[in-house]
Amino acid sequence: MTDTDQERDRNKETAFYKFTQQTLPACKPVLTPAWVITIFLFTGCIFIPVGLVTLRASRSVVEIVDRYDAECVPEPFRIDKVSYVQDDSIPKNCSRFLKVHKYMKAPIYIYYQLDNYYQNHRRYVKSRSDQQLLHGRKYHGTSSCQPVEFNNDHAIVPCGLVAWSLFNDTFKFIRERAELKVNRKNIAWKSDRDHKFGKKVYPYNFQNGTLIGGGKLNPRIPLSDQEDLIVWMRISALPSFRKLYGRIEEDLDVDDVVVVHLMNNYNTYSFSGKKKLVLSTSSWLGGKNDFLGLAYVFVGSSSLILALVFMLLHLRYRR
């Protein structure tokens, strides 16, 4: 054997040669009946327990949901709720009584929930200026804030439809005549507070127009501390959404009655949106939602059934 032959042989062994000849070592799985049944069974065996654990977590969450938009309008105004809510001269006070049906361990999260509210509408989503939120009036390129950009030729801070339509119902919680302490700090994402909303940016010329949308802002508090605004400006994904209002840092016992004094300021009547108040504890998985657990169980059982069907057919029709 000559040198060149040897060299060629050696070359053949190299990975590159195998690569060019498309003979790289490869794993070639084949769906044999054994594998199919194993995979189906395995999926079932994993998914059903996971689903049950998830369901358990979801069930452990105690949640009180109270829809108040309809009943908080006094009887005489119920024919025209829109003019009621738009009329500043009428007081918007309203009281709700929530009965705790199960022990709720602190922290209890307070959410307001809006339905049929398209925060994800493109026109709405675009109408904001992240630069302005961070840098304030120094920043001028706020054309994206149309149509809420200027008022009386002065820039509006924060500009845009999102800020303009700030949710402004307020809630007070009283249990046995004592006001429950509601922590309204740290309800927004930390990154939002620190990096998206300026610490030295103060509301300016906000809600001064002829048409007033939602809530007003205290012009002496910087945007980074206006957590309600920050939460609101975090756009919701779907037209039905909850937003964090605060936390009750006391446990609630069974049969406790919580009286909620709320200001029903926010107009959802014109688009027949619902308003709900939600008190909820949380588990390691978050809030109450059985869907995920059920879906896991469903998928798990389906694959068990498939395994069974496959096995039966396999045995019935032998090759």
């Binding site: 794993c27 070639k28 044999t32 009946p33 709405y124 939602g214 964090l244 978050g286 998928v299 389906s302």
Partner: protein, 1197 residues
């Protein structure tokens, strides 16, 4: 000094070609010189003169590039936007700057730029390569005459001008089209190799005009002045019309004096010439036309799918804009604003409740952009990348590398790869394609005795057909391979090694080989190692000289007057030198069918030595020369039956008397005649002397079948590919060759369509053309009908039905392709596994190809090696050129070139199948992944009141096609293998998957699309229902728009990549890297992008790190969604593989059960495609064949 010495040694070879010596005679065309089309004027040796400059002919600079530096950008952009999908994206990119765009302009532009840029870069690189070739050619050196210094100076090709005098040396290429003035031979001949032009390898003789052939030294050239008037630049390689005005005389010029660019000077030390055509005016450049561009079936269907997707896009956008319009219109009712937070009072036209329909229309445009993800922007570029890589693999395949000729397989166009996997009919040339086209001397018959013990492959096949046991199963080429001589495969111990002297007719044998050694026009050349090689006009002739040499009659010197041989001296037993004086050569021509030489041997005998077709020689035999006629005739018949080419050998002793002198005188006179009937006169004279011959014997030369041809054809037939052979051979030879290469197999029934019936011949003789044609047509129609009914009967009664082979001759073919018959004929032909068309012309080859293509509407592949196959190669869907002896013409016109016919098996069954599968899967998958993605956007829209807000961040979307899903799909397209190469070859039936197109039929495509929609539904609804509504983390935070986007996107990336993992069966580290890497890349991207300042990253700011990653819900939702999207496809695959397996599934199962050995080196593969295991599973194959056979028929009924 040097020059003169060379001169002395040079031989007047032109004398050898006394008959071929061509003196141009003025033709009709010469009268047209100076008129339109014949207006070129060249002032020889005066390129600087005013007149020449005024004519302003192009320089010799050649550019074959498609683009220049200036027009590259606009022209290649224009090329890009000729694709409808790209136009869509261009329009979308333009609109993206308007407020209509649902996402930011850069996020749309960047992928478009990447995609277009990649394609343009590819174009650019290809063009750059062409440019480098041009630069190389333009900067080659040639010696140009400089009048001032009266010497030749080196100059670059590109600086050459019309009228320049050049000197070209041996083995150099001609830099332009040149008029030959003189050469190193005194009579002004030179030899030219035109391989690059027409692919012919034999040397061509060119001949200068006598008036110029004396121009030899630089001094003489200084005074040389002449004017050439000739035709304008044109593409006809085989014609030239011009006149030379020199010394107040006109001399007609013809092609004989023209040396074309790209041909090479051979066997001649140097030539002088005048440049006539330069650069792009040269014939070879004028000839360069773009080959017809071919598109594959899959690509054509892909276009249709893109149209389907476009319609879906329009439909979806329309639905979206309809709802949007309705919702928007409802926003104002009287003075009430419904969704007050949208400020319907202060709005633009894009969202105006008062002009809702206009807003709806604009929203339609927005929708077109938003759902544009349904159209895979990167599909075209990905396919192109994949195909280029695939062809690199084809080029690299060692198993298709021909060591003998040092030629790997070469995919000349990359865009037909997958079509290789769908070939239903192969049309093949015979000579040089199935056979080697290198003639081998195998047998001879001398003095009535047959010599040569070897069996030809045809004989072996015939014996096999008769069921005889073969005495010697080894094919002859494997024996004594160490000592084998190219062109010689004669083995007979009675002749070889000097044993012939002991034979009874040793004197005849001696004469026989002397004829072979002297009667030819070959030129011997000593190689450096001292061996003698021969340059011959045809491979047959070379075979004779080599045979003579091997037997002991070594021809080693030829000069103008003599031929020298080394011969065995019978008395002394030693090798002695014998000189034969060469007096005349009577050249071979197709009309004469013979050639002879007149020589004077050392014994001073005057001999005429002749060889020629048996019919011609036998009728010229003397009465006393017919001693062995009967036996020889019998042998010749037997040889031609065995597929050999035969020639009869004879000689005549001439009397050195007045009769001969008289003849010689007349002959010399005739040769110097300048009239048109000179040829006739010379022929007549030659005929007069070539008579009263004495028969010596006959030779048989084999055009050997290429290695592995029968096995290859067998495999292709097993893959149920129809094979048509189009050959110029006689019917008998064609049938025998058919058996030899297993085109016609044992148990196959033959249908022969021919016009060789006595009635028709009788009609022909009468010369009534119309009646003949009518009768022929009727006869062919009748034969087709008979054949058809024979096939029908067989289908009913045969158990199992036998295969059919159809043999048709060229004349019948003409009638069979007649409009009235062609359908019936093709119908019959389609029922036959093999069709052999004998005696067919190149034009018929192309015609048949077109008919097969149009009638079957399936893929046809033509394979050939010669210039006569070019039409066929270009007409077929795929042209495969064999880069063999006949040169490059076919290769140039082909789409793929291979060194040997047998590589076709691997090219089709392995690479074709793989490429087809890869591309089909890839396209289906591409649509799947884009539909999945696009429809999640649509479902989200339904929950965003169709406002056009995308579900994801702009940059997630633009990275989707480019980063997170592109690499796995390319890996699929380049590397996936359903079964290994070895198993592909072992189970040829697998190939039918491509022919029947079952991996890319509409059902499958729609299935994948449906799967995409299903996946998108699962992803959207499971995700939204799982994570929105309630808190999605322990700390009570809810999932907002950004979190939902990330979660859905994560699920999409996981789902499409896992679907990929599920649908491929071949994981090397590359697949693992690409698939899992793409998923990892998404997380990495999200982290990097999320850590950018919030003004850049917007909704993605810290979304993974802060919001999603700490949430358990995010992770378990991903798991649920991914498994749920995989479950439908997985279940389908599991049940389908078990209960309705496709061919590749079957093979995979066999392999996984250990019934098939997988690992085998590629080397052994190429050597022995047939292994013992094949036989074990052959019963399995036959069962499957039956299954397959049954299925199409069911379809028909």
């Amino acid at each position: 000094m040097e020059m003169t010495r060379v001169r002395k040694r040079s031989i007047h070879l032109s004398k050898l070609y006394s008959l071929a010596c061509f003196r141009p005679t003025p033709t009709d065309e010469h009268a047209q010189i100076g008129q339109k089309g014949y207006s070129r004027v060249v002032y020889c040796n005066e390129p600087d003169c005013q007149e020449q400059i005024r004519l302003n002919y192009r320089g010799n600079y050649v550019s074959t590039t498609k683009y220049t530096a200036v027009n590259f950008i606009p022209k290649s952009l224009f090329e890009q936007f000729r694709r409808v999908a790209n136009i869509y994206f261009l329009v979308a990119a333009c609109v993206s700057f308007s407020p209509l765009a649902p996402y930011s302009a850069p996020s749309l532009l960047v992928p478009l730029i990447v995609v277009i840029g990649a394609t343009m870069a590819k174009e650019g690189v290809e063009d750059w390569r062409r440019r480098l070739q041009d630069v190389e050619a333009n900067n080659r050196k040639v010696e140009v005459y400089d009048k001032r210094s009266c010497s030749f100076r080196e100059s670059k090709w590109k600086n050459l001008r019309v009228g320049d005098l050049v000197k070209v040396h041996k083995d150099e290429y001609f830099p332009a089209d040149i008029l030959l003035l003189s050469s190193s031979y005194e009579d002004g001949v030179c030899y030219v190799d035109t391989m690059n032009l027409d692919g012919e390898t034999n040397l061509k003789l060119k001949h200068a005009l006598e008036v110029t052939s004396s121009l030899h030294d630089a001094e003489m050239l200084k005074e040389f002045r002449a004017v050439i008037k000739c035709e304008d630049p044109n593409e006809h390689l085989y014609s030239f019309v011009g006149t030379l005005h020199y010394d107040c005389q006109q001399y007609p010029l013809a092609l004989q004096q023209i040396l074309l660019r790209d041909s090479k000077l051979k066997n001649t030390d140097y030539i002088y010439g005048v440049v006539i055509f330069t650069g792009h005016d040269t014939k070879v450049m004028q000839n360069a036309t773009d080959p017809p561009s071919k598109r594959t079936r899959i690509e054509r269907r892909m276009d249709k799918i893109v149209y389907v997707l476009f319609s879906t896009l329009i439909l979806v956008s329309f639905i979206g804009s309809l709802f949007f319009g309705i919702e928007t219109k409802k926003d104002i009712s009287g003075a009430n604003y419904r969704r007050w937070y949208l400020r319907s009072d202060k709005t633009t036209v894009f969202y105006d409740p008062r002009r809702a329909s206009l807003s709806g229309f604009f929203h339609f445009l927005t929708g077109l952009m938003l759902y544009g993800y349904l159209i895979p922007i990167s599909l075209y570029v990905s396919i192109e990348i994949v195909k280029v890589l695939q062809s690199i693999f084809i080029n690299q395949d060692r198993a298709m590398y021909d060591e003998e000729t040092d030629r790997p397989a070469h995919a000349r166009t990359s865009n037909l790869n997958e079509e290789l996997g769908q070939v239903s009919t192969i049309l093949s040339d015979k000579t040089g394609t199935l056979t080697c086209n290198s003639m081998e001397f195998v047998k001879c018959s001398i003095a009535g005795t047959a010599y040569g013990r070897g069996m030809t492959e045809v004989e072996i096949a015939l014996a096999r057909k008769r069921g005889e046991r073969l005495p010697e199963p080894m094919p002859i080429d494997d024996v004594d391979s160490g000592t084998s001589v190219k062109g010689f495969n004669f083995r007979d111990e009675r002749i070889m090694n000097g044993q012939w002297v002991k034979e009874p007719h040793s004197d005849v044998i001696q004469k026989f080989f002397r004829v072979l050694a002297t009667c030819h026009t070959a030129v011997p050349e000593k190689t450096e190692s001292g061996e003698i090689v021969y340059e011959a006009e045809s491979p047959d002739e070379a075979a004779f000289v080599i045979a003579a040499k091997e037997v002991g009659f070594q021809f080693f010197v030829r000069n103008q007057t003599s031929i020298k041989l080394h011969e065995l001296d019978l008395v002394s037993g030693k090798s002695v030198e014998r000189v034969y004086k060469l007096l005349h050569v009577l050249e071979f021509s197709s009309a004469r069918k013979r050639m002879s030489v007149i020589v004077r041997n050392p014994e001073n005998q005057l001999l005429l030595l002749a060889k020629g077709a048996d019919s011609v020689i036998f009728e010229r035999l003397a009465k006393h020369g017919r001693a062995f006629e009967a036996q020889t005739k019998e042998h010749i018949d037997r040889y031609s039956e065995a597929g050999l080419r035969t020639l009869a050998i004879a000689y005549r002793e001439l009397d050195d008397d007045d009769e001969y002198r008289l003849w010689e005188e007349e002959f010399m006179k005739a040769k110097t005649y300048l009239t048109a009937d000179q040829d006739v006169l010379v022929d007549e004279l030659a005929d007069r002397i070539e008579r009263d011959l004495i028969l010596l014997g006959a030779t048989a030369v084999e055009d050997k079948l290429q290695k592995g041809v029968p096995d290859c054809i067998d495999k292709l037939a097993k893959a149920r590919i129809r094979i048509w052979v189009l050959t110029g051979d006689k019917k008998g030879t064609a049938i025998n060759i058919g058996y030899a290469c297993s085109l016609l197999r044992h148990g196959m029934k033959q249908i022969v369509i021919t016009l060789e019936s006595p009635e028709i011949e009788a009609l022909e003789k009468r010369g009534d053309k119309e009646a003949t044609a009518k009768a022929s047509l009727a006869s062919v129609a009748q034969q087709i009908c008979d054949g058809k009914s024979q096939v029908a009967r067989e289908l009913l009664t045969g158990e199992p039905p036998a295969e059919f082979g159809l043999i048709i001759d060229g004349k019948s073919l003409t009638f069979a392709l007649d409009k009235s018959l062609v359908n019936r004929f093709m119908d019959l032909a389609m029922d036959c596994a093999t069709v052999i068309c004998c005696r067919s012309s190149p034009k018929q080859k192309a015609l048949v190809t077109r008919q097969v293509k149009s009638v079957t509407s399936k893929t046809t592949l033509a394979i050939g090696d010669g210039a006569n196959d070019v039409g066929m190669l270009q007409e077929a869907d795929i042209g495969v050129g064999i880069s063999g002896v006949e040169g490059m013409q076919a290769v140039m016109a082909s789409d793929f070139s291979i060194g040997q016919f047998r590589f076709l098996e691997r090219l089709l069954l392995v690479h074709g199948h793989w490429c087809y599968r890869r591309i089909a899967m890839m396209i289906c998958y591409f649509f799947y992944k884009n539909i999945t993605f696009g429809f999640t956007l649509f479902w989200f829209e339904a929950y965003a009141s169709f406002s056009g807000q995308p579900a994801y961040n702009d940059w997630y979307m633009s990275c989707y096609n480019v980063f997170f899903t592109s690499l796995p799909v390319i890996a699929l397209g380049v590397f996936d293998q359903d079964v290994s190469a070895r198993l592909c070859l072992k189970h040829p039936l697998l190939y039918q998957e491509g022919v029947q197109d079952i991996l890319f039929n509409w059902l499958r495509i729609l299935g994948w699309m449906f799967n995409g929609v299903l996946s998108s539904i699962i992803i959207f609804f499971l995700t939204t229902n799982s994570i929105t509504g309630q808190a999605f983390r322990r700390d009570g935070q809810v999932a907002d728009y950004a979190v939902l986007g990330v979660t859905m996107y994560t699920c999409v990336v996981w789902a499409v990549n896992c679907q990929m993992a599920l649908s491929i069966n071949y994981f090397t580290w590359i697949q693992h890297l690409f698939i899992w890497g793409s998923i990892a890349l998404w997380y990495i991207f999200l982290m990097v992008y999320g850590s950018l300042p919030p003004t850049l990253s917007t909704t993605a700011y810290k979304v993974l790190v802060e919001a999603c990653a700490p949430s358990v819900l995010y992770w378990i939702t991903t798991l649920l969604v991914v498994i749920s999207t995989l479950l439908p496809l997985f279940s389908y695959r599991a049940f389908q593989i078990r209960f309705r397996p496709m061919e590749h599934d079957r093979i995979q199962i066999l392999r996984s059960e250990g019934l098939e050995q997988e690992h085998d080196t590629a080397q052994r593969l190429s050597e022995s495609p047939e292994s013992p295991e094949t036989r074990i599973s052959s019963d399995l194959i036959s069962i499957r064949i039956d299954n397959l056979r049954a299925s199409p028929r069911r379809k028909n009924s």
